[in-house]
């Protein structure tokens, strides 16, 4: 389709966009507020006015809202027409009538879309002399700050929070010029996506509360392209650093992965980097059991002497980079490389990987574009939050497509589509062990124990393809549901099956595999999506190794006596008794980690590891996508990347630069073939220059360290990457994988991301970051046989893990905001069992499980099936349990006056 803008002819490749999107993609700066690349158009702000002419002869034209206009063949458009410009200047003047003009103390200042548009639209002098409207603010909890005076009523916040992310506690109140955006009453925001308000709101109404505590303007932040380390999805981020501490994390757009959003764990979990628990020196255990500081050289000498026996075992880590795991494996030799996982978790990680190798996998974008979903067992809101956000979009996709076709509504016309679709949902089937925050999407969520969920999955596969094994003795309700799910998945154009290891059930993974295999036989669009517990779980699985029980065996039979633990707290991965035995059996223990934890407390020698903020490395996400994360700042010696410590201990190996270890990895295994080409090589230069991590307005260069020494230090060199720890370098837009921040002339806010995309919401210029290194096999997938649910332990209650977005992840709980939102330990019972045991909500109960007795308060949750209970998983205050397992719950004794036991 050809259109003319400012009398220049353009050919639109995609005519399904609106005029605003077309103009932005073609490089015309049209100001806007209420349009958003994902939330699309509602026509609320009137800021995006342009003039449209009928034909060449038409000299008068008419003003239209570009975000609400579809481009038409031969259409003539003027953005710079005088009347259109004047119109836009008047609109912004009127939107600014009540604005408090408090940019100096506003955290949005310097990266504010309202500032950018005000300047762009040409409103320079306030003429109104009337008093300004004011609003009271709300305390929205530890993550988001609220300053309602600054609102311009674009409605983006509710459209994101309520309409897009399914939040129920933010809405619009009031009327006329007093509309108010907030909660019904002050209190913490309930949605785990609340932090996106900070980026979605074009003004300073919602700002980052964690940043506020150590506030820094965007132009003063040293940033680099990074990858979130707080779950297995590998969302792309921009962490920002100033004066040696990490200040905040913002979204880095990746079309296939996180799009324009992050979850709150990913956005606010970063503060562990600044934690007082950081290990900043090499530490050696002394005779009196205290740890004393030793120099890096001394530490390496000691470590070498500890390793000299040659009987050393290495424990890799699901949260360390591929490089560090590879370096450890090289140091100890592949046969002595182990995973820090209990038997059950190790099994799940291996099965997950084998499924990843067999099926076409869904990226988060594929997930949001699927038209029928079967979510089997995984509580994604808590284990892989952004997957939940993508699933929410998938749930409304089928009715939206249908309504759009029926009523001829263009896809960008959000207001019309939402009105047409109302509450209608597409096929979305949810089977879970307890309540989830996606329950509202499914017509009737199915709740059962993990084994029964697996049975349902196997039955669905059988209903899809009679060749898949049938499930004997399935309850009629489940059998009927399985038929319905199968019918719906079968008729869908893009069906999706989602599962994961978090229930602790391998049968569940097998069931999901059977469904994917059965669907794949007839529909090549069918996709599988599995979650991964940690940021590099899949990367670790690609480096095979035994589990913790094998480690103990090797230590006991004398084939090993020394242990190197890489970036993992073993007490979080296995039963404390087993870990204690391992440490007792090992003669020497070396731990490389960044935060002090129960495992470093057992170490003889502790080496300080760099966190993601100080190291560059490769992480493999849940769909096998290897992505590079670049250091934001150099590590402060002696802290260094774990792989550098390990390389220093390895004889006959010299990998001085990141590239060297990547090259060694690439030849070590077919899986790692592509790790050298995930981003531009270290000698990449943009017109002869490196890419600056500091913005060109970075301030204080000659004063920030002047109190220590008036002479400025030279910027640290970066030999590993094409990025520089400096404000000097190329001002041009770097290729996708190297973009350190979004900024272009006139676009100070992150809204300017479209200047880095080929087209609005399209791929990044110069290529999207990362690459899938696991490709599905072309062989037809076979079926797993249904396994009867195994039950460990005895007792009448089956305990299943309940994951928490805030609290179940190791690193993010060291952020004050996340720690505040993490739950206290509890045990959740269904109403049936609670009634039987006489337990009321909040009552203290005694849990007996795996030989331990715990006193916990009870929660009564409607959605927990009879005979089951949920125990929070991986909470810092609870010991590790290998769940699901059987145990018992009884009313705690002391409170009962009748003297029950």
């Amino acid at each position: 389709m050809k259109i003319y803008i400012e009398n220049r002819r353009f050919d639109l490749t995609d005519p399904s966009v609106n005029l605003l999107e077309a103009c932005l993609s073609l490089g015309f700066d049209v100001p806007y507020f209420c349009w958003h690349p994902v939330l699309r158009s509602v026509g609320a702000c009137r800021q995006c006015a342009v003039k449209v002419f009928k034909d060449e002869a038409d000299t008068r034209g008419r003003i239209v809202m570009s975000c609400m206009t579809a481009p038409a063949e031969g259409m003539r458009v003027s953005v710079n027409d005088d009347e259109a410009r004047e119109f836009r200047a008047k609109v912004i003047e009127w939107l600014m009538l009540n604005h408090p003009h408090d940019c100096p103390i506003c955290d949005e200042g310097g990266e504010c879309h309202l500032q950018d548009v005000t300047v762009m639209a040409g409103h320079v002098r306030r003429q109104s002399r009337f008093p300004k409207r004011t609003h009271r603010n709300q305390d929205l909890g530890p993550l988001v700050n609220h300053e309602m005076n600054r609102c311009i009523q674009c409605y983006r916040c509710v459209r994101f929070y309520a309409d897009y992310a399914g939040g129920r506690d933010v809405g619009v109140q009031g009327c006329h010029d007093g509309v108010y955006f907030g909660r019904p009453s002050p209190g913490p925001l309930e949605s785990e996506f609340s932090g996106n308000l900070v980026e979605v709101c074009p003004t300073g109404v919602f700002t980052d509360k964690s940043l506020k505590r150590h506030y820094t303007r965007k132009w003063d932040l040293q940033t680099a392209p990074s990858v979130c380390v707080h779950c297995g999805l590998g969302c792309n981020t921009f962490p920002g650093q100033r004066y040696g501490t990490l200040r905040r994390v913002r979204t880095r757009y990746h079309r296939e992965v996180n799009g324009y959003f992050l979850c709150d764990r990913g956005r606010y979990g970063y503060e562990f980097v600044n934690s007082p628990r950081r290990i900043l020196q090499a530490l050696l255990r002394q005779g009196d059991n205290a740890l004393a500081q030793v120099s890096a050289e001394e530490a390496i000498r000691l470590a070498k002497s500890l390793l000299s026996s040659g009987k050393c075992i290495g424990l890799g880590s699901p949260r360390a980079t591929l490089e560090s795991n590879f370096a450890l494996r090289t140091l100890v030799s592949p046969s002595r490389f182990f995973h820090p996982l209990a038997v059950s978790q190790h099994l799940l990680s291996g099965s997950s990987l084998s499924l990843l190798r067999r099926f076409p996998l869904a990226s988060l974008r594929d997930v949001s574009q699927s038209t029928a979903v079967f979510l089997l067992g995984e509580d994604v809101s808590n284990t892989a939050p952004l997957l939940a956000l993508a699933l929410r979009q998938a749930a409304v996709r089928a009715p939206r497509l249908a309504k759009a076709a029926l009523l001829k509504i263009p896809a960008w016309h959000e207001a019309a589509l939402r009105t047409a679709v109302q509450e209608e949902k597409g096929p979305f089937f949810l089977a879970a062990t307890g309540p989830t925050r996606l329950d509202d999407l499914a017509a009737a969520p199915y709740r059962a124990a993990p084994g029964d969920l697996a049975a349902l999955g196997f039955a669905v596969a059988h209903a899809l393809d009679p060749a898949a094994p049938a499930v004997p003795n399935l309850p009629p309700a489940a059998a009927e549901l399985a038929e319905r799910i199968a019918a719906s998945l079968k008729s869908a154009a893009a069906p999706l099956i989602v599962s994961g290891p978090s229930c602790g059930s391998e049968a569940l993974l097998h069931a999901a595999a059977n469904v994917a295999a059965a669907l794949g036989k007839t529909n090549p669009q069918a996709r599988l999506c599995l979650t991964a517990p940690e940021c590099n779980s899949v990367g670790l699985a690609l480096l095979p190794g035994g589990n913790l029980a094998d480690v103990l065996r090797a230590l006991r039979d004398g084939s090993a006596d020394t242990l190197i633990v890489l970036e993992s707290d073993l007490y979080r991965h296995a039963d404390a008794a087993l870990v204690d035995e391992i440490f007792t059996a090992a003669k020497h223990v070396i731990v490389i980690d960044s935060l002090a934890n129960a495992t470093t407390a057992r170490a003889e020698l502790v080496l300080p590891a760099a966190t993601f903020a100080e190291s560059s490395g490769t992480l493999v996400n849940n769909e096998g996508r290897a992505q590079r994360s670049y250091a934001v700042c150099p590590p402060k010696a002696p802290v260094q990347e774990s792989w550098r410590w390990l390389t220093a201990l390895t004889p006959n190996v010299s990998w001085p630069r990141w590239e060297d270890i990547l090259a060694a990895m690439a030849v070590s295994s077919g899986d790692f073939r592509d790790v050298t080409t995930l981003g531009p090589a270290a000698d990449f230069r943009l017109v002869g220059q490196k890419i600056p991590r500091q913005p060109h307005r970075y301030s204080g260069r000659t004063a920030m360290t002047a109190h220590i020494d008036v002479r400025e230090p030279a910027p640290a060199a970066d030999l590993d990457t094409p990025l520089a720890f400096s404000m000097e370098g190329s001002p041009l837009n770097p290729p996708g994988p190297l973009i350190p921040r979004y900024w272009s002339p006139r676009w100070n806010s992150d809204q300017g991301v479209h200047k880095f995309q080929i087209e609005v919401a399209g791929p990044l210029q110069g290529g999207d970051p990362g690459k899938r290194i696991i490709e599905p096999s072309s062989e037809p997938a076979g079926y797993f046989a249904p396994t009867p649910p195994a039950s460990e332990g005895d007792g009448e209650i089956l305990f299943t893990p309940a994951w928490h977005v805030f609290g179940s992840e190791e690193l993010s709980v060291h952020s004050p905001g996340i720690a505040e939102l993490a739950p206290r330990p509890y045990v959740a019972l269904g109403p049936v069992d609670a009634g039987r045991l006489g337990v009321r909500d909040g009552a203290p109960v005694t849990v007996t499980l795996a030989g331990r007795t715990l006193a916990l308060p009870a929660r009564i949750l409607e959605a927990i099936p009879p005979g089951a209970a949920a125990l929070p998983a991986a909470l810092a205050d609870l010991p590790f349990f290998s769940l699901p397992a059987r145990g018992s719950v009884s009313l705690a004794a002391p409170a009962a006056p009748e003297g029950r036991p």
Binding site: H101, I105, G109, G110, F130, G174, V179, K212, S699, A703
Partner: protein, 171 residues
Amino acid sequence: MLSILRTIWTVFRHGFARRFTVQYPEQKRTYSPRWRGRIILSRDPDGQERCVACHLCSAVCPVDCIAIQAAEGPDGRRYPEFFRINFSRCIFCGFCEEACPTCAIQLTPDAEMAEPIRQSLVYEKEDLLISGPGKVPGYNFYRRAGLEIAGQAKGEGENQKPPVDPKTLLP
């Protein structure tokens, strides 16, 4: 010949001309208040620190010699936790003063800043902060900014309406 005599006469005549050289430092001159000399941080009319740590002066500074860290007090006012100017780098361009939205940072007619040791030219907030409003007597940013601070609730600032009650639907 004539030109040589004319030159000698001119030189002789200048021996009796009025002298412009100032015998500094014995003899001091007053500079115009607009003189761009030693930088100070002023206070607003109620004696509070004017600087709100907006980082505009530091961003505009062409030699990047201002380093600031923002902080917020329990009274809701933002202030610089530290404010450092490295005068050994400052070129006294006055951009910082021009950029400052609160009239906090001001250049003064004090040119006598020489130090034998360069390190002594690093000034911290304590060295910069004066006790008065400097060249701009009346301005008080927080009276206009619409922010809630101790002693000034929402809507109590200058030219502001009382806060909206979002629960009412009356016109």
